[in-house]
Symmetry: C2
Subunit: 187 residues, 2 copies
């Protein structure tokens, strides 16, 4: 049976067995329990995570301690604070586990090494980065033009499993609406 | 004197004269006048543009004909509809010239060819794409957490030249506020 990471990478590029072993040798595994964090504000983020099990949230805390949800991520999604990871500057966000989680992760140094040595993997991450950028562009358009109801319906359509796994107040925060508004949308 | 595109690329990777000539051979030039378009809704976008002169806006038109500004771009910035360009699907946005403009552009086929043949250029665009993604993430956080006044101040700090070159009503649209609110912020 193919390794799930190999299946994931081969959605974009193809790899030989030897190449995949080489790629995988750059990763390590880690487990975290619900409520544990991957990234805290102020960290210089050294790892990019690929979720093998579980669900996480990335968020910003404002000066009043209010959480603003940037995104959720679950099995077979990549997550880190890209600003901190790419520029190696202190993070402005938090990433916490919403469930018990397992990850494969790659260090900053190993990712630089792997993408320098292996054009295919540069290409893989370049494509993933483009897709990430497109998703963010869609979210901005949605924040600018859609009503709360439309944003809710879009999220439900794209990620129905989120509504089973993530507390309602976090979904409200992601949508930029109050929990009361969400309850009305939800009914 | 170094070609401005070479200077721009060499902020991220270094090129020999021969390599830059090879890169440049994949580009063509085009001029557009104020109000002409680069991209229209429904187009399958075949070109990515690098602005050598001028200023453009990308925007979404809602069902009431209201413009929602996605971004502005000017000299030495890249612009296209990335969703359409990367996935080769019909565009959902428009890109118009706000001034008389000049561009270098690369076709979809030439960009695929160049990035496949030249790992360095794959790396260059991968980095640009990461930076683009980071900028979009910051904009989402700003839309979620900042007041109109804070968003205005941030834009003024980051791109003071925009306020000289772009009509106020477009800046209001970018910030997601009414023109009246912008006038109050502006005073």
């Amino acid at each position: 049976m193919k390794h799930p990471l190999r299946k994931h990478i081969e959605e974009i590029i193809s790899l030989t067995d030897k190449e995949f072993d080489f790629v995988l040798s750059h990763f390590e595994t880690v487990k975290k329990r619900k409520h544990q964090y991957l990234v805290q504000e102020g960290d210089i983020v050294k790892k990019e995570f690929w979720i093998t099990q579980g669900c996480v949230k990335s968020y910003f805390l404002d000066e009043n301690g209010k959480e603003h949800i940037l995104r959720f991520a679950m099995e077979h999604w990549w997550i880190t604070d890209y600003e901190s990871f790419v520029k190696q500057i202190p993070s402005t966000i938090y990433i916490d586990c919403l469930e018990d989680c397992e990850f494969l992760y790659i260090s900053y140094e190993n990712r630089e090494k792997l993408t320098s040595e292996m054009h295919k993997m540069e290409r893989f991450w370049a494509k993933k980065s483009k897709f990430g950028r497109i998703a963010l562009q869609k979210r901005i358009l949605s924040l600018l033009k859609n009503s709360a109801k439309e944003r809710y319906d879009l999220l439900l359509e794209q990620y129905p499993q989120l509504f089973q796994r993530v507390p309602k107040k976090l979904i409200a925060s992601y949508l930029g609406v109050s929990r009361e508004t969400l309850s009305r949308l939800n009914s």
